[in-house]
Amino acid sequence: MDVDRLRQDAAAVLADGRARMVIGFRDRAGDRVPAFITDAEQAGELLYDEACRQNPAAYLKKAELKRFRPVAIVARPAVMRSLVLLAAEAQVADEDVLVLGVSDDDAYHGILDLAATAALLNEKYAEIPHDPDLVKRIEEISAMTPEERSGFWTEQFARCTRCYACRAACPMCYCTQCIVEKNVPQWISTAAAGHGNYAWNIIRAFHLAGRCTECGACEAACPLGIPLMLLNVVLARDVQEEFGVKVGYDAEAEPVIGSWSPDDGEDFIR
Amino acid sequence: MSPDPDQAQAVQQPGGNLYAPITMTIAESRDETYDVRTLRLQFLVEAERAAFFEKYRVGMFGLYGVPGAGESAFCIASPPTQDQYIECTFRKAGRVTTALCDREVGQAITFRGPYGNFFPIEEWKGKNIVFIAGGIALPPIRAVIWNILDRRDEFGRLTIVYGARTVADLVYKHELQQWQKRSDVKLILTVDPGGETDDWKGEIGFVPMVLEKAAPSAENTVAVVCGPPIMIKFTLLPLKQLNFPDSRAYTTLENRMKCGVGKCGRCNVGSLYVCKDGPVFTIEQLKNLPQGDL
């Protein structure tokens, strides 16, 4: 990818005031960590490659960063979709955010506003397949008996310490008070064990149904390697298959859950 | 600040479950306002009562709980001079306080404490005292007031300035009347502008202004201020103008607490644990704390 153009564009938007901050990635001893550039002269720190798995759109929910808007975000297609979706959910306005479009296929897409981002997504990335490894794994798990499946997930969720790194990493988890923190009544057990872990992980995934752009940041953030993307992709696949919706391509779109069609399938309803 | 080994020695029950509360029953339940309730709690075991009153000094707090709902920290609102029961006053705000409100007379709740430090009232003997309180912050001061009224001869003049947003928000209304009638207490009540009723006879205005107007003398006097952070902040100025030294003005911090015993780590202000080093602080101490943590 043309990292020089990324750096030039970042410097340019900072220099001419189109953005107050660029949020992208930098290298720290081999790790890819977020970079917050406010000075055009530091734009040279920026880089992008496949190791940059965090979703920088998550920083839009951070109160302290609001004063740096408009902010330019180094965004791969999944992150661009998050941004379009955030606009659809009225969490960001067109003037709040710019995109420096990058991708894992080495293309660099330049400086985009949200409209141009949506246009680019529809033109070039309309058919992003679900991660084939995940799809394969989902097929394997789906082929198990219910007992085997519950055994598999018992083992996975048992590791959860309820650090909520998955929630923090997700740009769509922007509620000021999460359902897991509501205690009148206590919907989800607070103990890092058993049914509380099950309920938390299931409800986290479900609250992102029709809102997940499969960026993978939640799973990448999980210290214990819980395969959260399996849940997210199952939901994303169903949203697409059942309702024909791909999320994050239209800033005017109604939310998937929250809208309906009289033609929605109901084979399972008696 | 290093741990106080003497205190640790005195309160620690060796080999016990530090977090195990005792069970107490509700002897009386009073609605102070539409959302503030006072419970009078009775000890079930004489040894527990004796142990409690051996430690208890005004200003300390406890953890009141209902199994299944949890426990919450708030002050002990009755004085050690009333040594057969304890009272607590709280606003119905969340899960625990709602569960406490749902309890009826005769039913049980759990209690741990007393915890924390206390107002050094023994040092105040012979001095005048000015109490300044706002809203739901009267309870900790009420314990001090009754403690002093129960030992009235040992102290000088008492002035109480108490305010709330509206007349309906004033707590301990029947006791305010008692104090009003006493010749040895000067009680000044106030409500925020707009919070008065047609027959309101007290002051109208914010507590700091009313304090300024009342202008109690600072000579041989200590001040005790309890209220929301914003009230405390604006009360410091009139106190200063009236020449109250910061070392003779006291307040309590009401930080969020869970354990109450210096473990759970959430009540800290700088390196101090409010649950251990407080909740009572002088304004002098308060000013030396990191203000951003208050």
Binding site: R28, A29, D31, R32, V33, P34, F36, Q54, A63, E64, Q156, R159, T161, R162, C163, Y164, A165, R167, A168, A169, T190, A191, A192, A217, A221, C222, P223, L224, G225, I226 | M1, D4, Q7, V11, N17, L18, Y19, A20, T23, G65, P67, G68, G70, E71, G94, T97, Q107, P229, R256, G262, K263, C264, G265, R266, G270, S271, K276, P290, G292, D293
Partner: protein
């Protein structure tokens, strides 16, 4: 000296398990090496720093501290005993063991937490000298060392080029463990491998000194920019000990739980009245740094950080305590500061 071949650590684990120890060791689980209870067949991974710390087995993520039978509006308290099985923490790291001094202090400095103490007494700590380190390791910057023995009951020292370990007892508990290991250990001679060299990354005294003067500083927003406010760092940290107390109930029973909590969460300090002393992530992150490098040293004459680097390894947002400390230390060199 007592020796064991590097590829026979599981035999040692098996012998200790037979002798009645719960064996906790670094084991790979779904692609992540973490400290967990060893079971027959599990390989012990000494080549990676586990994501979690030994604290999990002294101060678990959730623990019952109260229990009641419920019957309508009535309740009856039941006794709660700490769950403290005899445990060996095998092939943990010196930075795990170094954290015990602080945990011991916090849970005993005034009131004594017997849940912690019961577990602590039941634990035999066997750290392994580190002969490798990664970019996140910085124990030498906070007074530790890859071969430090503080908190250890016995040390596992890689020897003869990593082909075997010397198991060296340091305490009575360590001696008992060696006895229990029996024939799993061989008598012999071996040359201990040198510990890894870990460069010092910052001057911790300069950091503590700067912190004592800079509760208010323009640096804090910059240092905390990347933090998104989860609890991953606190939960991975061997010294973080903050907890929440929560009740859980059915209609017939309730339990009171001590759950891990983190000062990084927004609700941590939120008052019932709505006021929050630490309203943003800048204030929360400042508290985390202050707590480890200023408040704990001031209060307990200890550091709140053992330089294990776990917080940085698990952080999904690239926050790093050693980087922050280095930036703070740089600050002290940079600006001639004036007293505030």
């Amino acid at each position: 000296m007592k020796l064991i071949d590097a590829n026979k650590l599981t035999a040692l684990a098996a012998a200790l398990a037979r002798a009645g120890y719960r064996v906790v060791a670094p084991i790979e689980d779904s692609g992540v090496v973490r400290l967990k209870e060893w079971a027959e067949g599990a390989a012990i991974r000494t080549d990676a720093v586990p994501v979690n710390s030994a604290k999990d087995f002294l101060f678990p993520p959730s623990e019952i501290i109260g229990r009641w039978d419920l019957d309508g509006d009535d309740f009856t308290a039941k006794e709660v005993e700490p769950d403290a099985p005899k445990t060996v923490l095998l092939a943990v790291r010196p930075c795990d063991a170094a954290a015990l001094a602080l945990l011991d202090t916090v849970f005993n400095w005034d009131y004594k937490d017997d849940f912690y103490n019961a577990r602590r007494q039941a634990v035999t700590v066997v750290p392994m000298v580190c002969t490798a380190a990664d970019e996140q390791c910085f124990c030498t910057s906070v007074g530790g060392a890859p071969d430090a023995t503080a908190g250890a009951d016995a040390m596992l020292r890689p020897a003869d080029g990593g082909t075997r370990f010397i198991l060296e007892p340091m305490t009575d508990k360590g001696n008992a463990l060696l006895d229990a290991a029996g024939s799993a250990l061989a008598e012999g001679e071996a040359a201990a491998d040198p510990p890894v060299e870990i460069a010092r990354r910052f001057d911790v005294e300069a950091v503590t000194e700067w912190l004592s003067r800079n509760f208010e500083s323009d640096l804090w927003p910059a240092l905390s920019l990347a933090c998104l406010g989860c609890g991953a760092c606190a939960y991975a940290c061997p010294t973080c000990h903050c907890f929440d107390i929560q009740d859980e109930a059915t209609r017939r029973e309730s339990v009171r739980l001590k759950n891990w909590d983190s000062c990084g969460f927004g609700l941590f300090t939120l008052h019932a009245g709505g006021h929050n002393p630490r309203p943003d992530q800048t204030a929360r992150w400042r508290n985390r740094v202050m707590h480890k490098f200023s408040y704990i040293p001031e209060r307990f004459k200890l550091l709140g950080c053992t330089g294990c680097g776990r917080c940085a390894r698990v952080c999904g947002a690239g926050m790093s305590m050693s980087e922050v400390c280095r930036l703070i230390a740089d600050e002290t060199k940079k600006a001639p500061t004036h007293e505030s």
